[in-house]
């Protein structure tokens, strides 16, 4: 059983990491979501024990570990909140840059840096000229 969980979690993590490296922002969000699911699965797997649901345990019956389930629930809720936040952030970025592509963002940043560089260079040359 442990092996199944380990395989499933690692496949999810790998898929998520692959999506995370994409240039499309929506895929990046999906990547984060899938990785968060891998973490939830690992949390559940951390306390695997056969038994009934630990709601009202009768004496001498085995119950499953409630703590790892509680942790998984908390992680799911946090994951949901974070996903919503990330989606809104992506929406705002898409509005600001008018493109859902990370390449566009990088290109804009590069153009901006080049502009600053040119400005500094001109300033420097003017100063040199003034010094002469």
């Amino acid at each position: 059983m442990n092996l199944v969980f380990a395989l499933a979690a690692s496949v999810l993590f790998g898929t998520g990491a692959y999506l995370l490296l994409d240039r499309d922002l929506v895929r990046v969000v999906f990547g984060v979501v899938v990785i968060s699911q891998a973490a939830v699965l690992t949390l559940i797997a951390s306390g695997l024990r056969r038994g009934a649901a630990p709601i009202y345990p009768l004496p001498r019956t085995s119950v499953s570990d409630p703590l790892s389930q509680a942790m998984a629930l908390t992680a799911i809720v946090i994951g949901l909140a974070v996903t919503a936040l990330l989606l809104v952030l992506v929406l705002r970025v898409v509005h600001a840059y008018r493109s859902p592509d990370l390449g566009e963002l990088a290109a804009w940043e590069a153009r901006r840096d080049a502009g600053i560089e040119r400005l500094l260079e001109r300033e420097h040359e003017e100063e040199e000229a003034a010094a002469r």
Partner: protein, 457 residues
Amino acid sequence: MTALTLSLVIPWAAGLVLALLDGRRPLVGWLAVAILAANLGALAALAVAVLPDGSVVVTTGNWPAGVGITLRADALGVLFALLSSLALIAATLHEVLDGVRERTFPALVVLLAAGLTGVFLTGDLFNFYVFFELAMTAAYVLATYGSGRRELGGALVFTTVNLLGTFIFLFAVAGVYHVTGTLEMAGIARRMDDVDPNAAILLATGFFVAFSVKLGLFPFHFWLPTVYTAARPPVAAILSGGLANIGAYGLLRFGGELLPDELDLASGALIVIGAASIVYGGVLAVSRRSAGEMLAYSAIGQVGYVLVAIGVGGPVGFAAAILYTIVNALNKTLLFLTAQMRGAVVGAAFALGALSVAGVPPAGGFVGKLELFRAAANSPALIALFVLGSALSFVYAFQVYQYDFWRGERAGRRSTIPQQAVVAALALLVLALGVWPEPLLALSHDAAKLLAGDGSG
């Protein structure tokens, strides 16, 4: 005990109320400052209670010990909580005096304070994750402050990379629960000795990666310059002076207390990574012209010292790491706040911060560097590294000082007197730490002894 509860409840409850109010109104901004001050007061009261006799432990919800979530305040946690709270207050005050631009800003800072206080004062591993995520989520939204193209792009990078970091942390938490069967930090420290070394090393690596991403150490630093230069100065000050403390605290707490054997094993690797950080950050900072970019790369270099000190380990190494983190957080808060200011006091404050970064005597940074040298006294290679790093930081800090303050004035409007007063007060604090370092030295040595003592025994 009440102080511990209050320091968590005040910012949490107040943050929820503030979220409903329009933060652009000055009154709301001042309310946030007052709440942060109240939080700082509660933490100071807690510090007074904790520092003489060890620690305060509260089990939440009146559950029996071992069932409920434990909150624990000890010297290390209280020191970091106080430090972060101070950085947040300074940055918020600075922004409120300037005029808050977005309605969510005060609420987010207060919620961030709640998360940070919780991270430093919890004794439960999963609870640590929850507070960690609370602080990070507030910070993700704060990073968009200003809402320009740059801020949004930076916030996106910040959010994605740090989410990945927190998920790696969560994997390690699940692993720790699997091998030890408990989430209480004290219990984990006791049971870690019986754990299979391979599993323990894997978990230690997970925690190390998670906190290094947060700190921005060399191979995990790739997000940091983009974010710190894109964010507005008060937000950059909050991120580097308040939030990044989680990384240093996590390395100290998890390395020093929970996984001391693995820390010993990895000490060589930590020193190498720290050294790479120092050199990389220093060299790239020298090549930068604007104050913001220089500070971003300097942040990478400065945390390298902390990692080297942790790698050296033992009471002396930990004390140096704690002290250097404190001094560095104050330096960064001060310098990031001055990054776009203009005025008579600003130049002096920047110069003092620059002296502190370089570790020149009257400023607080000197004491931090001195402790580092003490920790590395047996190794000529480390001493040489620290001298090289200090020389680089002297060059990059004063290069920017020369550009921005000697060759004429910065562009933009002159900062108001109250804003300059905030920066001046921070600069005086940095100076005071250098002139009268005994209290802080004693505190960090106490905290380090506690950590090292817990680890070996």
